[in-house]
Each structure stands twice: as C-alpha cells, then as structure tokens.
C-alpha cells in the first residue's frame, strides 16, 4: 500500500502539530517559541510505502515482529524527508524517526527501513494503531494486530518465545533464534543462534522461563542439514542444566554427540531457568543451537 504525500507549501497548522506524536515532548517549546513559521521547506513529493496491517507475534520477549517502510522521491530535485513513527501504548517501535536524503526520482531510489514492534508481556491481544507522519503531516495508519499468548497446556513448550541469554552471540545470528519455535536447520541463518567466540569453550545458552514450572524434559536441536550435518557442525559435548531453588542441576551429560536432536528426560523438578553448557562442537569452533525446547514431561 502506498500513500502519496504532496507538500506544496509549508504547513504550520496546530492540527498537524498535535498529530505529530513524536514532538509532544516539545510541546512546551512549541508554546513558547512556536508560530514563527519557517517549517521544513520541502517543496517535494515523497511517496511512502508501508503496510496497512501488521500481524504481530504474541507478546513474548523473544518473539519479534517488524514491518518495512520506504520513502521515494518522485520529484526532479533531491530532498530531505522526515518520517515520524508512533504507536499506541504499550507497544513501542524500534525507530521513532527516519530522516534521510532522497535523490531525485530518476535515481529510482527508495530509502527503506525495517521497524521492529516491541511490547510487554501483559499486552492485551487486539488491534493497536501506529501512525506514520511525513514531514509533519499524517501520512498513514497501520493496524498492528497482537496475537494472544499461546495456551500453556500440559504439553506446551515452556521456552517458546521466552527471554534467551547466552555467554555471547555472534553478530550474524540472533540471540532469540534458539527459542523462536523454528527447529528447521535449513533456516539456520535466520532462525538459529551461536556464540561469538570461535574455538573458545565452554559456551552457555539458556532461557528464563516466565515463572517457575515443572520441568521434566528438554529437547535440544543442533545444526543438522544436508549441507551442514551435525556430525561435522553440531554440538558434541554438552551439559543440560535446570535452575531450581537449590541452584543449578545437571540433568543430562552428552559426550561425543553426532546427532541433530538430543532429548533429555529426567525426574520432573520445579525450575525457572534451563541452559545448555557446550564444551565442544564437532568443528571445535562454534556452539550451534537451532532450538531449545522445555516441557513438563
């Protein structure tokens, strides 16, 4: 969906200012100093591309949602453009402003950015309104639809989307890639995770559960694809640990592993964290985790 935003003269109306959510903090200044005109002085035509609707993931700390925005100059002269982005609380956006130079239309250039939608765990499911303003004028509304939290029945994966942590995370991957619900090694780059310290062990990767829960089984998926078989690239020596009221307890010691999937089943305990400590991998470089799942039994 594309909205054309035409600006032929400087706009200094109070209505536009009120809609410019990001400058509310400056309202006191506006009251003191405003009304002198001047404005941004863009006499340009900038096209905004953004979705009208974003289906967001449930409000879990390690599940993220994002949408793309694009700005294109459709005039013969280069311009600067300001895109302001705001969303209804309690949601927030990774970017509240996108200001950029835009070459003339014949360059065929679109300045794009990916905007992450963030929200606290207690966000109620439903629709939230995001507002995009271009050079101070309302330009587009986006409906962000927040999905409900997954039902946590007796068979639920308690690690899904919860806050992951790691001794280090390589810049090519995401910390949350190991608890995003994707066990497919073919999507390793986008959906897996590994440490940043090549050849240095141990490495730790774990997840903070939402609350203390009975834990009796852990499923650990390491990299295992046709191109990157586990016997060559996967985890080799690992301890699987759960954190109880008494401290860390090792529930499984795996040595010499060459499989893509490790299951640890043990007497159920009340735990609030689960982690994998890797002492070696089959290439002796990185500790590659595709997914860490935690179940009651």
């Amino acid at each position: 969906m594309t909205t054309m935003h035409r600006r032929t003269k400087v706009l200094a109306g109070a209505g536009a200012a009120a809609l410019l959510v990001t400058s509310l903090a400056g309202a006191a200044f506006a009251g003191e100093w405003g009304g002198r005109g001047g404005g941004p002085g863009h006499h340009s035509v900038v096209a905004l591309s953004a979705p009208g609707r974003v289906a967001a993931a449930p409000p879990l700390p390690c599940l993220s949602s994002s949408f793309g925005v694009g700005l294109t100059n459709t005039s013969d002269e280069p311009v600067f453009a300001d895109l302001d982005l705001a969303v209804e609380a309690p949601l927030s956006l990774s970017r509240r402003v996108l200001s950029t130079y835009l070459p003339a239309a014949d360059a065929g250039y679109t300045a794009g950015a990916e905007v992450e939608v963030r929200m606290p765990r207690d966000t109620a499911p439903g629709s939230y309104l995001a507002t995009l303003s271009l050079d101070g004028e309302p330009a587009q509304r986006i409906t962000v639809e927040v999905a409900p939290l997954p039902e946590r029945g007796p068979d639920a994966n308690l690690a899904l989307g919860e806050q992951a942590y790691a001794s280090s995370t390589h810049s090519n991957v995401r910390l949350c890639g190991g608890v995003d619900g994707n066990t497919d090694s073919a999507q390793w780059g986008a959906s897996g995770t590994h440490d940043a310290t090549s050849g240095v062990f141990p490495d730790t990767y774990g997840v903070n559960l939402a609350e203390s829960a009975t834990v009796g089984r852990v499923e650990l998926y390491t990299l295992d694809s046709a191109r990157y078989p586990a016997a060559r690239m996967g985890l080799r020596d690992v301890d699987i640990q759960v954190h109880t009221a008494e401290g860390w307890r090792t529930v499984e010691e795996v040595r010499g592993n060459e499989a893509g999937h490790i299951t640890a089943a043990f007497a159920p305990v009340l735990a609030d964290r689960v982690q994998v400590v890797t002492y070696d991998s089959n290439d002796h470089k990185y500790s590659r985790i595709v997914e860490l799942e935690v179940y009651a039994s």
Binding site: A12, T22, S23, E32, G38, H42, D82, V97
Partner: protein
C-alpha cells in the same frame, strides 16, 4: 523500551560562567538591549509558562576565524537523545551576543539567527565587523534561557607580524573507547585555534552499556549510522561530553572530516545507497560543526577544503583527503603498481592544483597543510618486506610526489603537515624521495594520536619500535592517547605531545610526553 535519556551536567566552569553572567550588573544591562528580562530574572525555573528545559545541552562553539570575524555555533536540543533533540517542527529565533569581556559589559556585536528544524535547530552565525587578533566572548539566548559563554579569537590582519600563535591539533575521539581528558587539557591551555583533523564521531554501533564509559545509552545508538537521524543522534551523544564542550567553548575550531564521519574507509562511491548515506552524514556533520553557510553540503558534495591565514606568521590549507580520492582498500601492504599509478589521486586534481598554486604564492613564514592521513610512509614490517597504510598518501605515492615535488619546485618555505587518523603520535621529515635518505627534506610532518580511539596505549610498543627502526625519516613515535599543543613563532615551531595517563577516567592527568622543535629555515625536526 527506550532507555530514558541521560544528560551530561554542565561542567563546573560552564556553570560558574553562567552564574557569573546572571548576577553581573553589566549582564543585565546588556540583556536589556534585547528585552526578555523577565525570563532571565527567575533563573530558578519558576518563570510563568516559560520553557525551563535547558536547550543548550550540546554547548557552544566557534570556528574558522578570519581577521574580522568568526562563525558561532550552537544547537537547541533540550532532550538531545530524543527525536529532533526534543524540539518541535518549527523555527526558533536565537539571539546572540559577542563581547570583548566575559561579563558582556562591552557587547560589540549582537543579532538574531533562525534555528530551523531542517538543520536540527542549529545556528551558524557568521559574525563580521570584529577587530583582528582579539579575544571575544559569545553566548546565545532563546526564550529566557542563556547558553554557556564561549571564548574565541579572530585571526590577525593580513600582512601583520605575529609574535606567537598557540594552536592545538587533534583527531579520532571514539566515544565508546573512553573519556576525553585530552579535551579537558586542551581547553585548559590557552590556544588561539584548534584544528580537528577528523573522526569526530564513529559510525559503528554503541553497546547499551556505553563501552569503556559504562554509561547507559539508548538502544537507538546501537546501530551503524545510515540515516540522517542516526548521524544526528550520534553527534548529540558525543557533544554532551563535558570535556568536548569545554574544548569547543575555549577556542575557535577549524575542522575537517575523515572516514568515520560517514563509514570506516568509505565504500566505492558508485551505489545509490552510498550516495544517500554520504549525503545524510555530510548534512549532520555540517549541522554540528562550526562551519559557515558556504560549506553547506549539496547532497553528497561537501565543499570543505579551504585556507586560513594568521598574518604573516602562518597559512593553513585545510585539506579533504576523502571526497576526491581514487578508491583503495584500507589495509596495510607493500607498495605496488596500483599505488604508483599516476592516474590515481588522494585529493583530486583540482585540490592538488589549489595546494600548489596557493602555497606557491604564499609569503607566510609557516606553510601548513592541516589534513587527515599520514603523508610520510611508516613501513611497519621489519626487514626487507614493506607494509604501509594503503588509505594514506603512501597508497597514492604519485599524488604525494606531485604535491611534495611541486612544493619543492616552488621553493615553499617551512612546510609543516599536520596529520591525524592513525591513533599514534609521530614526527618526521618529509623527503622529496623517501627511498633515498640523501634526498632533500621538503618539510616536516607532525602526527597527533587519537583523543580516545583504541583506548589506553603505550609510550612504545613493538609497532612503534619497528616503525622507528624501518623509517629513518621518522623522528618520533608514541602510541598513547592525547593531542599536540604547539607554539609557533617566526623563529621556531615547538610541538608538545600531550598524553593522558588513561582514558578510563574523565579526570586523568595529561602531561607533555615529548617536545620537538622545527627551526625557521632549518630542514628537519630536533628535540
């Protein structure tokens, strides 16, 4: 959620200056000239309906001194780490004053400038009508609020004899790598002018804990700067540093940029993405530097190289070694056919001609190139192997030959090249042919280390020892953090290499590690 913005408190000196101003009777008289005393009278913040947030969180600056004027700078940013610095999308009038005394009893120039949102509410006031070689004090006011007071100095009249000029030069102030005790020292010493030779900001992501500073920063600075708002936010973060603000407020700065104001080593300039990034970076650079309006970038083009004179004593050609260079990778390796290719240039043909024509016609005692990258080779490989930095003049040796050869042919006296970029102090002789130790010395090169980049270093290490051993034209090397403070007289140029004990503390001691002298008409650097 974004972390709440942190504010750097004004330094004690700045706060004291403001109190002094607010209580001085002369100050009140001066203000009466432009009205609005009601807002000033209640400096406790209770004034009715008035904006009480300090808009001058990023300090004040002056730059590019001329015999009759100087450019004054500030930015209105009551919430510097918020979008648009917490300012609305409207223009704001900013009053300014220039006085002969720090209490503003003798205001000699005053006026009003418009801080526009499209320039991040910065102002760049080109004050003229000042007297040559004079100290002045300046300040801004908006609403009822006063800026800190800055001190500046105009250049001497053309053709006059100048007994002494005190200058500092510095570069490379990676915020994440440490504090700026060197700037605090630079501000405390009495410099007539400060040259900043680039890497004012670093474009790389800043960790949430602020790196070596251990200061929480908003998640928005955890990105590579690409958009205009990214670069603006980076300047807003850097310019809150109290020592950097003090250094700007203490003397006029003459700035040029290097690579990190856009991106490490710069990509080849052939993609639309690069053009847009460069235009964004240049716009933010101009907005935040004390540069005149005639330096405003036009998209991806920033007219930056320029010349300033200090009477008959010294003439400074400020170079741009980034925008016009043939591309090279940024590594260190042996010179090869590429580096020798006469078609390649570091500064472009027009700038090469401008240097030769300008310095060829100069009658100044000291002829100075204030620029970014090492001009002399610093071979860092022991033995017969060679390793020089490809991003410096050594990667463009034909370009260097044309400049040094042309200056030698024109009989340019007392050539001194000031250099930054390399995060190390050096001093050396510029030879007509660096491969031939008997070839004539055509000038001297003084290289300043980084203000903070790379964190704490050492006086000597394997790298500096190798360079000293391999390069007979290199007279001095040091690998600590700091800057260079110089006294220039018609008889000699004395360079004091000031180094900080550490950059892990804001209040670290700064001392002179080495002093070197270049004599008038004498080839070579001596202790």
């Amino acid at each position: 959620m974004p972390v709440p913005p942190k504010y750097a408190k004004p330094s004690k000196a700045v706060a004291a200056g403001r109190r002094r101003f607010l209580t001085g009777t002369g100050a009140a008289a001066a203000l009466a000239l432009s009205g609005g005393l009601a807002g000033v009278a209640t400096a406790d913040g209770r004034a009715r309906g008035r904006e009480r947030r300090d808009p001058f969180t990023l300090g004040v600056a002056s730059g590019d001194p001329l015999p009759d004027g100087v450019v004054l700078w500030t930015r209105l940013a009551p919430e510097p780490l918020e979008p648009y610095g917490g300012m609305p999308r409207s223009a704001v009038q900013v009053e300014w004053q220039v006085a002969e005394d720090e209490r503003f009893r003798r205001v000699v120039r005053a006026g009003s400038a418009t801080a526009r949102p499209e320039y991040s509410h910065t102002v760049h006031v080109d004050v003229r009508g000042l007297r040559p070689w004079r100290h002045y004090h300046y300040r801004f006011r908006v609403g009822g609020q006063l800026s800190p007071v800055g001190r500046t100095r105009t250049a001497p009249s053309p053709g006059t004899e100048v007994p002494a000029l005190d200058l500092a030069f510095a570069s490379c102030q990676n915020w994440t790598a440490g504090f700026y005790p060197a700037h605090g020292d630079l501000a405390a010493r009495d410099h007539d002018v400060v040259f900043f030779l680039g890497d004012y900001i670093y474009e790389n992501p800043i960790p949430v804990d602020g790196g070596a500073r251990g200061q929480q920063v908003p998640a928005e600075v955890g990105v590579d700067c690409v958009t205009l708002d990214d670069y603006r936010l980076r300047y807003a973060l850097y310019k809150q540093d109290p020592d950097l603000k003090a250094a700007h407020a203490a003397a006029p700065w003459v700035v040029t940029l290097d690579d990190h104001e856009v991106e490490n080593d710069w990509a080849p300039r052939d993609s639309a993405e690069w053009v847009v990034r460069q235009a964004n970076a240049f716009r933010a650079y101009w907005e935040h530097m004390p540069l005149r309006w005639d330096r405003l970038p036009q998209g991806p083009d920033l007219p930056l190289y320029r010349r300033l004179a200090f009477g008959r004593l010294a003439e400074f050609s400020v170079l741009d070694t980034r925008q016009y260079r043939s591309h090279a990778d940024g590594g260190w390796r042996a010179p090869d056919a590429d580096t020798l290719d006469p078609a390649r240039t570091l500064i472009g043909q027009a700038q090469e001609r401008w240097i030769l024509d300008g310095l060829g016609a100069s009658s100044a005692r000291w002829n100075v190139l204030a620029q970014q990258v090492l001009m002399m080779p610093t071979d860092a490989a022991a033995g017969a192997a060679q390793s020089v930095a490809m991003g410096t003049w050594s990667g463009y040796s034909a370009s260097r030959d044309r400049v040094l050869g042309g200056l030698h042919e024109r009989g340019v006296d007392n050539l001194v090249v000031l250099t930054g970029d390399v995060h190390a102090n050096f001093a050396g002789d510029l030879r007509r042919d660096f491969g031939d130790p008997s070839s004539p010395v055509v000038g001297s090169e003084l290289v300043c280390t980084s203000i903070s980049s790379d964190g704490d270093g050492a006086d000597a290490d394997d790298w500096t020892r190798t360079i000293l051993a391999e390069n007979p034209h290199v007279a001095y090397a040091n690998h600590e953090r700091g800057y260079v403070s110089c006294r220039i007289t018609p008889r000699e140029w004395t360079a004091h290499y000031r180094v900080a004990d550490t950059v892990t503390r804001r209040d670290a001691a700064v001392r002179t590690r080495k002093s070197l002298v270049i004599g008038n008409g004498v080839a070579g650097i001596r202790d």
